[in-house]
Symmetry: C2
Amino acid sequence: MLKQERHQIILDKLKISKKVLSGKLSEELLVSEDTIRRDLKELESKDLIYKVHGGALIKDNRVLSYDERSVADINEKKEIAEKAVKLIKDGQVIIMSGSSTNLELAKIIPPEINATVYTYSIPIAAQLSHHPSIEVIFMGGKLNKAAQVTVGIDLVNFIYNISADICFIGTEGIDISRGLTEPDWEVSHIKKSMIHASNYVAVMCISDRIMSVKRHSVVPIQKIDAIISDIDPSDPIFNDFRDFDLTII
Amino acid sequence: MLKQERHQIILDKLKISKKVLSGKLSEELLVSEDTIRRDLKELESKDLIYKVHGGALIKDNRVLSYDERSVADINEKKEIAEKAVKLIKDGQVIIMSGSSTNLELAKIIPPEINATVYTYSIPIAAQLSHHPSIEVIFMGGKLNKAAQVTVGIDLVNFIYNISADICFIGTEGIDISRGLTEPDWEVSHIKKSMIHASNYVAVMCISDRIMSVKRHSVVPIQKIDAIISDIDPSDPIFNDFRDFDLTII
DNA sequence: CACAATCACGCAAAAAAGTGCAAAATTTTT
DNA sequence: AAAAATTTTGCACTTTTTTGCGTGATTGTG
């Protein structure tokens, strides 16, 4: 096992359980406690952990650490992203909402795709900046620190004045009668503006949230062109949706 | 077996298992470990892998893989930041340019400071999102992937319509006759707008760049209220600056 | 204060990496 | 096709890194 592997494992463990014990790590990684201590020492010198007697604690003010706080349902989100990426065509103008599913999507856009992406999410912009041929337009506003996205009237105005081929929207709730719904009032307006600006509206929804309703309406179901989920499109949960002119993926 | 074949195999292996060991590769590819080491060295120089003692790891496109060690003159910049942070007062509205010095500054703003920061740099916004009481306004535009900042006319317009107590500007060149200068034309306009929007203009300049001139003028020396550098304010290099009404820190 | 757990330090063995050089393989030129 | 130039490779050698262990110091707990 390489030293750097151990370091990564230690950091991952810290992310999950906030603390690690030298003795336990030594057993789990099959190295002596001295080695673990040296690992912790090195990680501390890099300011990545907070070393204490007996082990180490997570260092919260890690520089630039939007790590997948939203690792919830990460596999489902990856599956959705796999399906969604097939909708992206060369030369398109794309709007991506700030959802973690969209972050997964951003990670897997093939390098040969040449497109313009509008986003208001810092992690998505950062991810796309690794892509060789995507032009990224970051839409500014007041920063929501928790979600690492911008919000506010300036953002909504900006989006109302652009136009795009397709938008990908991460979804909190979708059902037949209320359509797309959102727990956050401000975000509901942002999503509404994205849909207004786009020719084709793709919503990405993990199966748990299908047929769930949140507080604020975004748009009725008729405005949506495609629902992308992690389950089979023929699943009976979609039956009511088939009356509408939308694609289930 | 050709060198490039091996390289491709190594990269493929990394994609699958995230790590390779020199010894194992040597066995599998039937070449000496020296050759493998040379391969890894070359791949690392192309920035394709992350070489470590014993083998190599996949180069993870970490979100914001902003490597502190790769910043030039990092210690000088930290010193400048230490001086600059003293100018920040509670309740201020601050504009920060996208320089790495400003990133260092963002790291050390005391938690008790309550302020609003306008920025167009992704790393700075991400850094400030850890601060408990700073409101961050991210100013959007086209993303410059290398510098991780936004640029463009929308950004400049936005800045012209705000007003701030103080702006901190990282400096490429400053001298008496030309004032503040910039190699990049677009950035020169961004900086000009920042200065226009601010009551107090602080430029942060590592000593090497004092009295150096770049292509595009930003503002004459009279518009600047403070120069913050990594050297002593009494240093003779500043002598010519003392004729002007500005503070040398 | 006692007692166990944890840590720091030096040491030595093992593994891996860098270095210089000559042989082998490959590419380019004649 | 042969010769020359260049690149690639393996080997012997030294240096560096990593690791585990012993010893004594330090820390936390009752």
